[in-house]
Symmetry: C2
Subunit: 312 residues, 2 copies
């Protein structure tokens, strides 16, 4: 975590937020978005996914986006890849961090990346080897998708989450991302899950939260995870996002509302909230048909509100 901040927010809108958009988000627009958002003080931005363009044409420009992202200093450039081939491309492009994702639910993993969980873990081990050889400074984060419920198999046992977390940790993961991929999580469940995962792995690697707001509980889940000691949160500006294989699971939690929650709670994010709200205009200009979410942007700051970062 960057010095001087209490909680790390990570923008995933340029990946999770736009991956199911049918409209191609122009490369220049992506670069304008990440440039403006890096300037708000956002400590980490997931700028793209390294996947076959025929599968997700939205990311056909991944190399160009990373190249542009690298011209800016002061934040972590992350990219997602679900396999070795994409990881290779991401390392070559020069990302700082690779996000690898596997569903805890076997059925969801088969639907999402067409492999069993065992195969995904084996592939991750090959990515670790490649990283150690070719890009030793790159951090490897492992996303535990459907950790809080699966739209195909329903409830996901905590023991399954702990087991997969353990396998990834043993294999060399630098971070564990507990993910409510389909927006099923309840804050009570989140508290118990994060207590368990942080209790087991929290002193070894960062444990992050990736929540969707599908059923309105996204920010309640954030507070529950905060209470359990989580200090790393994914979100997407204006709540863009979803999963192509999780019906109706549209919408990451809203980054602007997340920052408002954290800053109001006295936790420094390092992000300038006013500037962040202005970045929504870039998204709106590039996705004119897409509804933008977020209550803070509509209602404005409470009278006399001083964000923790500004109070410092």
């Amino acid at each position: 975590m960057r010095p001087g901040i209490d909680v790390e927010c990570r923008e995933v809108g340029l990946r999770d937020g736009i991956q199911i958009q049918k409209v191609f988000f122009p490369t220049e627009g992506k670069i304008a978005w990440l440039t403006a958002e890096a300037a708000t003080g956002m400590p980490e931005i997931e700028v793209c996914s390294f996947v076959p363009p025929k599968l997700l044409p939205q990311f056909a420009d991944a190399k160009d986006v990373v190249a542009a992202a690298k011209k800016i200093d002061g934040y972590t450039i992350a990219a997602l890849s679900p396999n070795l081939r994409g990881a290779m491309d991401a390392f070559e492009a020069g990302v700082h961090k690779l996000n690898y994702v596997t569903s805890v639910s076997e059925e969801h993993n088969l639907a999402n990346v067409r492999r069993t969980v065992d195969e995904s873990v084996e592939d991750f081990k090959r990515i670790v080897e490649l990283r150690n050889e070719k890009a030793p400074d790159v951090k490897l984060a492992t996303g535990l998708a459907t950790a809080l419920g699966c739209s195909i198999s329903g409830q996901v046992p905590v023991a399954d989450v702990m087991a997969l977390a353990g396998r990834f940790f043993e294999a060399g993961a630098d971070e564990l991302v507990v993910s409510d991929t389909v927006g099923y999580a309840n804050p009570q469940q989140v508290k118990e899950m994060f207590n368990a995962v942080i209790g087991e792995f929290g002193d070894k690697v960062p444990v992050a939260a990736h929540f969707h707001d599908t059923r309105g509980l996204g920010l309640a889940n954030v507070f529950a995870a905060l209470e359990a000691g989580c200090r790393h949160f994914d979100a997407s500006l204006a709540g863009l996002g979803g999963c192509p294989f999780a019906p109706k699971a549209t919408g990451n939690i809203v980054m602007d509302d997340l920052v408002f929650l954290l800053e109001g709670a006295g936790m420094k994010t390092g992000v300038d909230l006013d500037k962040l709200v202005q970045v929504r205009e870039i998204v709106a200009a590039n996705l004119p048909e897409e509804p933008l979410h977020g209550m803070y942007a509509k209602a404005g700051a409470p009278k006399g509100f001083v964000p923790a970062t500004q109070a410092a």
Copy 2:
């Protein structure tokens, strides 16, 4: 609290939800709404406000609504009044509970009820006397409006909230309702506030929460209050509501999403969530121009979801 439930939800849509509606919600529609919602198992419904019709014409039919509400058994019929005159009418109409409201913020109280806080407390004492004489079975709840921030004066000191809570308790209040009237609250602040109020008064009277979702933190605030031991929550179906004197403070927290949160957390509300979602149709039919909020109603239940009340 009704036996067999863990948390008490209280529908305030028929009062807070519609008081700023410019369209008159037809009396028959109001009766259909409260009848259908009582049938979901909702333990308490605030059915109207006893205020001068020239001030709030929406409640010109308050007596008729209460008369209809009393034909149904098994739930608490509440009504709001900000003054002695309205309380008199409410007692005569036969409500089970009277909600009296005073803003902790002097400026907001002057704007909302045209009296100082001192005058409001004195008026409450007269209501207690009247209740003791004329309607000894009626419970008196006191709302501490703007307890978590004021759109006129900004931050509201915890000490002011505790002082007003103390004055109402001494005067004879049967319940204290800590209210985020203008949607300023942050879950960290909520946790501290409810720890303080419940710590001081929780063993004497119920301490309830009244949250608005103006800035997206309403359900996070619910979880924070739950963590502090609060077990009584106001909400309005489909998130209708607001305050005429609090600019942009539209929207109580969404009852359907609240029940989803609580039932998913393993807490019995006694409310049938599926039936509750269907009641939204009555609201939609009577307020066709009004946007209905609520994520659960849009996304549906998680696969395999069993509400705590149904599991019992």
